[in-house]
């Protein structure tokens, strides 16, 4: 797709500048949006506070539907930040898709498997730690031989599959969405005025659909996150 990735090496690790720049922009957007919405907090909510409270209720609802109320604790906060970040990251590439010197500078970080697998890894790690913290190390290990010992390899594969599918699902959706946007844009500019009008309409249509996909994927990601955590902390 958009040519080379802008990679650079630092401390012996390879970094992708595209992801770093886009990520920083999205972090800034997420923080300032949430910061701006929580400035004037009143007992009787108005305007932005209503939106923020609705959002919090929404993610709390996701968490509460998966685990008992006394377990929700910090997970609702994690789910809230995760949802807002992934939502903005998914939509980001629909609006900004900047290439410079034949290399991408701005796009959805969630269209990169490394980033999505990072979040997937974070979620799975959190789930396993939560399981150990909640049931003790013995109880956590016993979870692998349930319902009986023969299921051990299946359970291990399942954990691995959870990690991969959680990250690759969102990567596939967002990556495909952006790829199609680029292809449609390429078609639109290929034959001048003849293709620019239908290309424009098609692009508009697909962008609208991608907004929908991005929201759904953010919701699915957070829902699965809570499912994986709740499976570890509860019987």
């Amino acid at each position: 797709m958009g040519g080379d990735a802008l990679t650079f090496k630092l401390f012996g690790l390879t970094f992708n500048a595209t992801n770093i720049i886009s990520g920083l922009v999205i972090y800034a957007i997420v923080f300032f949006v949430l910061f701006g919405m929580s400035r004037k907090i009143q007992m009787k909510p108005t305007g932005a506070q209503n939106v923020l409270e609705w959002l919090i209720d929404f993610t709390n609802g996701i968490v509460r539907s998966q685990m008992p109320a006394e377990e929700t604790g910090h997970y609702s906060f994690f789910a809230f930040v995760l949802f807002v970040f992934i939502f903005f990251a998914n939509q980001f590439g629909l609006i900004f898709n900047l290439s410079w010197n034949n290399a991408e500078v701005l796009r959805s970080p969630t269209a990169d498997p490394v980033v999505t697998l990072t979040f997937s890894l974070m979620v799975i790690t959190l789930a396993h730690f939560a399981g150990i913290a909640h049931k003790g190390f013995g109880g956590y290990l016993k979870g692998y031989v349930k319902p009986f010992a023969l299921m051990l390899p299946v359970n291990i594969i399942e954990e691995l599959a959870n990690f991969l599918t959680l990250g690759l699902r969102i990567f596939g959706n967002i990556f495909a969405g952006e790829l199609l946007l680029k292809l449609v844009a390429g078609v639109a500019f290929s034959h001048g005025a003849l293709t620019i009008v239908p290309g424009f309409l098609l692009e508009l249509l697909w962008q609208g659909f991608s907004v929908f996909i991005g929201s759904i994927q953010a919701y699915v990601f957070v829902t699965l996150t809570t499912v994986y955590i709740s499976r570890k902390v509860s019987e």
Binding site: L13, F31, L34, Q49, F80, V114
Partner: protein
Amino acid sequence: MFVNSVLAESNSLYIGDLVFYIVTFIILMLLVKHFAWKPITDMMKKRADKIANDIDNAAKSRESAEKMAAQRQAELKNSQQEAADIVNNAKKSGETQRAQIIESAQNDAQALKQRAQQDAEQARRDALNGAKDDVANLSIEIASKLIHKELNEADQKELIDSYIEGLVDHES
């Protein structure tokens, strides 16, 4: 495509992004928790408490209002009863007063009538007596006039004597 996208052109997996995203996401969580999540959830909790309190208070005040309404109703019933009693008493006393007034009026009328009858009787009797006297006097006068022509001195004297005798008889 997938391999391309993961390994990029340099054919090295950019693990650095993993570290970058984990660290920055944790920083974002800390910032959001401090600036947005804490104040908002605190306020939501406060509001939930306040609403619960308000509901309790509303239930309490409704109860007291109901009690008051029942009290008012009872008082109203009492006052209605009282009003009815007052009207009844007034009616009764009016009735008795009416009866008394009628009775006294009847008595008065009776007395007046009696007096009038007595007066009339008296007048009649007086008139009758007066008439008797007049008749007597007239008859005496007529008689004396008649007699005066025919009686002489002696007879007249005898007559007067007989009269006087009669008077004496009459008086005794």
